[in-house]
């Protein structure tokens, strides 16, 4: 028996390679192109999958160990938060409407990401990237479920969350995040990971994370804070995966650079368009505000992404040109969005309200060049109408952008009093857009975007009535029929002031403090 030679301790990098890349093989009984049919049609050329640099080296045994420890801590806090009615410790019940946005608009995206990463985790030819994508698919399922479980407690006491799955599938405003994500999952594997792995998870993650999670902490929502920090630790791995994929594509073939640049341009724009919801939430919906959208943009895009795009310059990648328009819209975005959601409040599953005088002063200070001139007059006039008992409310369905599906409330960059509009003709049909950049994305793949289910158009096509509805029947009320189809609980709509949520929160909070 030979002497037991002291085994050379394998380095982490080498050991991880044996545990992942070593597992794969070149198939012979089936052609590799049949086993991996989807990773070449996009035009991205990969000459050497082995050149892949593993972004993080977590084998399954460590994964289970560390993630289980995170999960025990997380659920202990979620349970404690539920048991002692933690929702009553939040700063102000209006905050709870950001939780409604979270479960309706964001949690379902986590599930879609789970399925998307399982798809590309099966389609990339290289074993290294596949293992990293499969692990992210598992992480995303975690995020979807921990969000559902953390928010389940809010759902028991407040309106607008019970039908979040049906709403994400059909509610008009939720087709903005949904169509954004389906644009990515319907794209090829490389575009998907550029869109979600890089643009959304890396470039924009902090613009989503700071308002929601530190905003939750700052407003006394320990449940959401716990979930957020714990989930965000997985994001760190996702960010490194997203960055590694971009570098890998750019290093493999110069021909990949223009394709990746086009995707970066598209997904930075479409991503920022979706973040309009987050800008509105940050500036109008958090009772205690962490920072303004403009400030978050400066820190988490201009500063952080400046460093990122400087790093990518060596590959010939430039900052997406749309950033110029985003900068021009920065000081208008949240006010335009809140105006739309305020006047459309009868048709949404969360409450809106007019900013108080003190909040308007905060907005004036944060947006000195725009708020007082363009938005304060509107809010003050609406406050007058509310005081006179004739609150302003929209009495029509909005025109929506064919691409981002957001109601066309965006004004022309540099002309804050002119609503933007762009037109395109394709195959004898007309299409309208909120911006040149949305129109350009359409121009690139019209065959894709002519299929979009534009919410208002679907309603007018009669596709959003309950099964068996006869629209020609006597006294047929289309609005009521659509409300029934959408399962929109009337108590969840309208102004926060005078809502069930407001009354219940005050009554319950009273119970915890008084002894009557």
């Amino acid at each position: 028996m030979d002497l037991q030679v002291a085994k050379k301790k394998l380095g982490l990098k080498e050991r991880y390679a044996l545990m992942t890349r070593g597992l794969g093989w070149e198939t012979t009984y089936q052609k590799m192109d049949d086993v991996f049919p989807m990773d070449t049609f996009e035009g991205i050329k990969i000459h050497d999958w082995e050149a892949w640099e593993d972004p993080f080296r977590l084998t399954m045994d460590s994964y289970w160990k560390y993630q289980a420890e995170k999960e025990r801590k997380l659920y202990a806090i979620v349970d404690a938060f539920a048991q002692n009615n933690g929702h009553l410790t939040v700063s102000d019940a209006r905050y709870i409407n950001t939780v409604k946005l979270f479960i309706n608009a964001l949690a379902p995206l986590e599930y879609q990401s789970h399925r998307g990463f399982a798809h590309i985790g099966r389609q990339f030819r290289g074993v290294g990237p596949r293992v990293a994508c499969l692990m992210q698919s598992l992480d995303e399922l975690r995020h979807a479920q921990t969000q559902v479980h953390a928010i389940s407690n809010y759902n028991r006491y407040y309106n607008g969350m019970a039908e979040f799955r049906h709403h994400f599938d059909y509610m008009p405003y939720l087709q903005v995040p949904r169509s954004f994500f389906e644009d990515a999952t319907a794209a090829g594997p490389f575009e998907f990971i550029t869109a979600i792995g890089f643009s959304f998870e890396y470039v924009l993650t902090n613009l989503v994370f700071v308002p929601f999670i530190s905003g939750a902490a700052y407003n006394g929502d320990m449940g959401a804070m716990t979930f957020g920090f714990s989930a965000q630790s997985d994001e760190a791995r996702h960010m490194t995966l997203g960055l590694e994929v971009i570098k890998f594509m750019l290093e493999q073939d110069p021909g990949n650079v223009p394709i990746v640049q086009k995707w970066l341009n598209k997904w930075t724009w479409r991503g920022v368009r979706v973040l309009t919801l987050v800008a509105m939430m940050q500036d109008y919906m958090l009772p205690k505000r962490v920072m303004s959208w403009a400030e978050a943009w400066e820190i988490y895009f201009e500063e952080n992404c400046g460093a990122l795009f400087r790093d990518l310059e060596r590959y010939g990648i430039t900052m997406p040109p749309c950033v110029e328009q985003v900068r021009k819209e920065r000081d208008h975005l949240s006010h335009m969005a809140w105006s739309q959601f305020y006047q459309g409040r009868g048709t949404n599953d969360f409450h809106t309200w007019l900013p108080s005088a003190e909040e308007m002063d905060w907005l004036s200070a944060k947006y000195p060049e725009t708020f007082d001139q363009y938005y304060r007059p509107r809010f003050e006039y609406w406050a007058k109408l509310e005081a006179e008992g004739k609150p302003f409310e929209s009495a029509g369905m909005p025109m929506q952008c064919q691409l981002c599906q957001i109601p066309m409330f965006f004004t022309e960059p540099g002309e804050p009093l002119v609503l933007a509009q762009r037109h395109r003709h394709h195959d004898g049909e007309q299409y309208h857009f909120c911006s040149e950049y949305c129109a350009e994305i359409f121009d690139d793949e019209p065959e894709k975007y002519i299929q979009a289910k534009i919410p208002v158009h679907q309603i007018y096509q009669g596709k959003q009535f309950p099964e068996g509805t006869d629209p020609t029947a006597e006294g047929f009320d289309p609005a009521a029929a659509v409300g029934a189809f959408l399962r929109l609980d009337p108590a969840s709509t309208g102004n926060f002031v005078g809502s069930q949520d407001e009354a219940n929160f005050n009554m319950w909070r009273g119970l915890t403090r008084s002894n009557d």
Binding site: G11, A217, F229, Q232, S233, R237, R310, D311
Partner: protein, 93 residues
Amino acid sequence: MSRTESSVFVALQANADTRELVEAILADNPHAVLHEDPAMVRISAVGSLSVHAESVSERIGRDYDLQEMHINLISLSGHVDETDETFTLSWAN
């Protein structure tokens, strides 16, 4: 505009488990800057930032596996280079 040197950062939950880790990082990276936010600690540094398992182990009195950092990590920025001994964040430019 001069080519500003890019900075990296690591954000950690502010709890008992990360106290020594933060100390070790600050000790090993004199150029690093500490930012304290609600329940979160952010350490940023121009150029690069590295975490040495050795100096964390000294402070906690047991062998520290760098991958334990995942439990309390919140977010980071920069390229990751991970070995058994060191976890480094850096920008190539």
